[in-house]
Symmetry: C2
């Protein structure tokens, strides 16, 4: 893409009320726009990153046998009353309004209830199970404070999956495969080494749930990690009883600040029973369907990547989710031959299927380099005076800053990996 | 995809309160789920169709130079007050709620205001223009009645594009190119011959806006068409003055019932001035940016296709947006050889990149045929007793019902077109 055609521009400063590092960098880079605290629009560069994260998550969910759907934002009161999650005392993040008829409606902050109710149309026998259903959905949550940029929003994109199985064994098998898939997702978006599967508080049905926590100074959670055993425990549930359950010694634990990037939850048959999702087993007996729920905050994940991998100059995207693979910089704009060469390289790279942002603007090289550092595309290619003679391109790695002079052939090889 | 793995099933009946033909067929086919009047979830088959429509629209918008973004659902009161579109007297479809702080917020029913306000961060000079920005966004509208299925919802997906240009000439050029792109969209989704560019009421700035109206008995609008001149006029604006403006005789007009599938609108500088989106022209003078707005109701379009092209047996999808290209039916399920052959054909077709829904269920052939007619995939392939000997496959066209016996080679050729 020609950068001169991009309607966004980098900015020196983020809005004054923006206190989070992730939103500050993303706003300055032209990735997002702050509509209000906790509600951000995604601009062309930001939407590209978001779509790449969604693509990775979707691949992993499809591999598990997940089927994608899209539920509604508008929510029926009577449904949430059945599970006692309608009242503001029980759930304090509801946005509510009313239809013209006067009937109250809610705006979806979660979707276990409507999806489970919907499944009643399709599940009646054990032959209809298991079913794994997921969606990418904008969730609306009336948070009291929203100061963490896109890491905790009043409006954010979530991938939520729900598993409907016949019994605890079938559930457990799928639940464990989701843990693998989630660890894959976090690895693929560049957070593998920082992310810990963590024991957290359960619910009516189980003692524990599992969270995926990324170690991060800006995180909101405290976890305790036994690195030898590879076990992490959320501070919420750190008791002597839990330590003994998990076979962990308090002395081996290291305290870390972390951000939750995913969670998985076992509802057992509780919610299905409340909502009337029953199936007939092989003996003809009516049994509540076993429900599991699996969430990844997709926009939150993007924010965590920015927090975890940025440096003092700006964002550092992993190749897997960068808006472009390479940032081509025309360093001299008053020389027709150099300009022509840069355009030729741009054509060659894009013809090979490499995603390139080409900074063809009439601007000083220093300004372009600073913008490139802020925007954080993995590889920077500079075409300048020297290139014309040597036919060697300056290739700079955004993460390490390492620069080398390479031929076009080498460039292609490097960027296609 | 194996139909045995699809969690949805066809249904004999739609919910009793469903009065629209499009929603009735889509619910019975397992495409959508009714959450409440005017709010429908998209199930795996429905989401496939929706994504294909989005893909077509996206291609056409990108070709125009459009840049994709995604704005927020949550809306700031103060912004909409600037254009006098906050009060319920002025706009009667707002859903509103309040933040914990007590501040009122709205839920986006349209996005001219926030997008135009956002552009203030990026536009200051004529050098920053033109800019063409679009999104696919869930709109929420508190409609008094919602009885048209997915043709008019309280929650629906819209593609809205906004053009920011320096002057009326530049605007007009883009506006005309959008007309071409929109006609392309409607042609590509199978509504080309039924859809008319229609003069409709303008606003503060122009005498007319343009609508795209698809002729349809279930439509909510009345239009008058001069087929010779290729001009259509919405009943709203049909006056002697308009007829004379457009050089049309009343006697040449044919009345038609139609559904609006798109509209385009010229705001001039009015809204930019209200919101403060100004640019410096070449002489340094501050001028309001010229705004155009261009909408296609994406879910509505899906509903109109169903209404326009279905028959008494079910839905008839055009190839371009069908959830699958072919529906492979295993007509005999108690014969291992026939079963193996059908699975082989399924593998061969999918390996060639053809999207196939394979009805591998243990069910009667008659039931499968009825389901296939309801679901409406363009080509049905039947593998039965005869196929094993003749190696000829029964290929049935959903639209015409025409059946022929063809070789595997011919089948591949036919389906790859």
């Amino acid at each position: 893409m020609l950068q001169s055609r991009l309607f966004t521009k980098t900015r020196k400063d983020a809005p004054k009320d923006e206190v989070s590092r992730n939103a500050e960098l993303l706003i300055r880079g032209g990735y997002i726009h702050k509509e209000m605290a906790g509600a951000y629009a995604y601009l062309p560069l930001g939407l590209r990153v978001l779509e790449k994260i969604k693509h990775i998550v979707r691949e992993e969910m499809n591999r598990l046998g997940g089927e994608e759907i899209s539920m509604t934002t508008l929510q029926r009161k009577e449904l949430w009353e059945k599970t006692d999650r309608w009242s503001d005392e029980k759930v304090d993040v509801w946005f509510k309004s009313a239809l013209k008829s006067g009937a109250e409606v809610g705006f979806g902050w979660s979707h276990e209830e409507p999806i489970t109710d919907m499944m009643k149309n399709f599940v009646s026998s054990y032959r209809d199970l298991p079913a794994y259903v997921y969606q990418f959905q904008t969730k609306l949550r009336n948070e009291l404070r929203a100061k963490s940029g896109i890491m905790r929003g009043r409006e954010f994109l979530m991938k939520d999956m729900y598993s409907y199985t016949t019994n605890p064994e079938e559930h457990k098998k799928f639940y464990d495969s989701v843990i693998e898939a989630y660890l894959n997702v976090f690895k693929r978006v560049g957070l593998g080494e920082l992310t810990r599967l963590t024991f957290a508080s359960g619910g009516a049905f189980t003692k524990f749930s599992h969270e995926f926590q990324t170690i991060l100074p800006a995180g909101e959670d405290t976890i305790y990690v036994d690195t030898k055993k590879g076990i992490a425990i959320n501070k919420e549930v750190l008791t002597d009883e839990v330590l003994s359950d998990l076979g962990v010694n308090r002395a081996d634990l290291v305290e870390e600040t972390a951000a939750e990037v995913g969670n998985i939850f076992d509802f057992g048959g509780v919610k299905s029973e409340q909502l009337g999702l029953m199936y007939k087993d092989e003996g003809g007996k009516s049994v509540p369907v076993h429900l599991g729920s699996y969430g990844i905050g997709v926009t939150r994940l993007m924010g965590v990547v920015v927090e975890a991998l940025s440096d003092e100059k700006g964002i550092v995207w992993p190749k897997s989710i960068a808006p472009f693979r390479a940032h081509l910089i025309l360093a001299v704009h008053d020389d027709a031959d150099i300009k022509a060469l840069a355009h030729e390289v741009y054509k060659t790279l894009t013809a090979e299927g490499i995603e390139v942002l080409f900074d063809d603007r009439d601007a000083r090289a220093g300004e372009k380099f600073a913008d490139a550092d802020l925007i954080g595309i993995p590889s920077r290619i500079t075409v300048g005076k020297k290139t014309l003679e040597s036919k060697l391109y300056e290739l700079t790695d955004r993460e390490t800053g390492k620069t080398s002079e390479v031929s076009l052939e080498h460039l292609l090889q490097e960027l296609k990996d």
